[in-house]
């Protein structure tokens, strides 16, 4: 009797020490990444409205708090207290689960993002592949939302989104193949460290076409203007999330903005040296560089939205399959030659 008790006790103490503490510790680390992310997302929405406002010679939101700084909180509380309406004849479980399916991979992708040499939640070898896999799951939220809503507009949005994401994921994957050919690794931290030695060593110089392909397909993958045909408010009202209200809508919104920030951060990590300083002799490497570069790309997303009219659907397909894909394949061949002859300072 006492033996069984002591063995249970030993098992429990092992369980608490090894697994429970580890889980709590990892949970806290995840919170340290996700909480700032949510705050950035909240203020990114405000920045979007302000930036587009100024570009269109308006003021943007300026009523809640000084200069409108508390606007995100007002939006958040409004969405929290709104009723969640589930359409009749919709598929209830799938309808509720769709925003979750969009949201979870958008958050999970952040697990492998390195913020500097040591600050990374999970430093896995296949980091780049993991990110591609996670971002490719997000489309299910859009498809399921469109199908489960029992609405023509939503279904049309889901169809457009599915075709678009499959088309651009291929170009995006090929662009990343180029990055790992230069980087010699799938680990994001190693890819950044291979770019050490100032702005001349960053990968955007040998991979300029791939960088543009990645940026364009990143915008398309996040369903942002000018590729926002899945929402297309002028033709199909709000596309896949036309039936969503309150928090369910907010979750879609959160995932979309988190994905935009993720693409911006990946652009700066993979092509612009991440946390590395452009002039290492004068200024040191710091996490500030990463955030600064990310902010520039985040601004680009807003700038695109204020500038470009929406693509027509056939134009989107043409750009993805007939322009971006051949460009990436051609550049991979060029890169193969460069790798073979070890053209420096990148292909050494």
């Amino acid at each position: 009797m006492t033996e069984t008790l002591s063995s249970i006790d030993a098992w429990l103490s092992q369980f608490v020490h090894e697994y429970l503490l580890f889980t709590v510790y990892s949970g806290l680390k995840a919170l340290l990444i996700l909480m700032p992310l949510f705050i950035v997302v909240a203020y990114y929405t405000l920045a979007e409205r302000k930036v587009i406002g100024y570009m269109q010679i308006r003021k943007g939101p300026n009523r809640v708090g000084p200069k409108g700084l508390f606007q995100p909180f007002a939006d958040m509380f409004k969405l929290m207290f709104k009723e969640i309406i589930i359409p009749t004849n919709s598929n209830k479980y799938l309808f509720i689960i769709a925003p979750v399916i969009t949201f979870a991979p958008a958050m999970a992708a952040w697990a492998v993002i390195p913020f500097n040499d040591t600050l990374v939640f999970s430093n896995i070898n296949a980091g780049l592949l993991y990110i591609l896999a996670m971002t490719s799951i997000g489309v299910y939220g859009v498809i399921i939302a469109g199908w489960a809503s029992n609405s023509k507009y939503a279904l049309l949005g889901a169809m457009r989104s599915a075709a678009q994401i499959v088309a651009y994921e291929i170009a995006m994957g090929f662009a990343l193949v180029g990055v790992l050919m230069v980087g010699g690794s799938l680990n994001l931290g190693e890819i950044v460290n291979r770019q050490a030695g100032g702005i001349g060593h960053w990968f955007f110089i040998p991979l300029l076409p791939l960088f543009f392909v990645y940026l364009i397909s990143g915008v398309a993958e996040t369903n942002r203007a000018p590729f926002d045909v899945a929402e297309g408010e002028s033709e199909i009202v709000a596309g896949f999330h036309v039936e969503y209200s309150g928090m369910t809508f907010a979750v879609f919104f959160l995932a979309e903005y988190a994905n935009m920030i993720l693409i911006a951060m990946l652009c700066s990590l993979l092509f612009f040296g991440g946390w590395l300083s452009p002039v290492p002799d004068l200024l040191g490497d710091s996490i500030g560089w990463l955030f600064g570069k990310t902010a520039v790309f985040m601004l680009l997303f807003l700038w695109f939205r204020a500038t470009f009219p929406r693509y027509r659907y056939d134009q989107i397909m043409r750009l993805g399959w007939k322009v971006l894909l051949p460009v990436t394949i051609f550049w991979l061949a060029v890169e193969g030659v460069a790798v073979y002859f070890k053209i420096g300072p990148w292909f050494v």
Binding site: A126, I143, I144, M159, E169
Partner: protein, 200 residues
Amino acid sequence: MIETVIFYVFAVATVVSATAVVTVKNPVHAALFLVLSFFTSAVIWMSLEAEFLAIALVLVYVGAVMVLFIFVVMMLDINVARLREGFVRYLPLGLLVAAIMLGLMLSVVTSDVFVLDAGSEPLPKPADYSNTKALGGVLYTDYVFAFEIAAVILLVAIIAAISLTMRKREKTKYQVPSEQIKVRKADRLRIVKMPSEEKR
């Protein structure tokens, strides 16, 4: 210990979702269950330290193939009642196929190749071991011909699929972007000079 718990949770999820693929009535639900079973099998592969295969499974099958699959299933107007006809008629054939597959699987599992030594678990690899690198090394050295033959077969399949569906149809309307770009203002717009209306 925790690995065992994770394995059983995801193994049960795999079996349940794989069963649901063939038992649920709604074809879209069936396709979604197939996605789930792919995902849970990826987790099981991950727990076997085959992280490249696991991520490739999610990336290729979950992220691309099944998206197209669901796309098509949603578009089709599938008559479920007609599909359910003739269950009894096809039952003997189905049972025969099932029995053959069961026999094949049993012969594989009980063969000498896959037998596990009692009590010897495969040792976990060190943290710096890269599954991706090991796989690439084997694939591009020992099995390079098999790999390239597979690639060529796939290429042939792609070309065959495209050539089967490519056909010139009369009356198809499509745009030629180069023509659209070449258009100049003078081609479409004629400015007519007119005297302004007189004041009365």
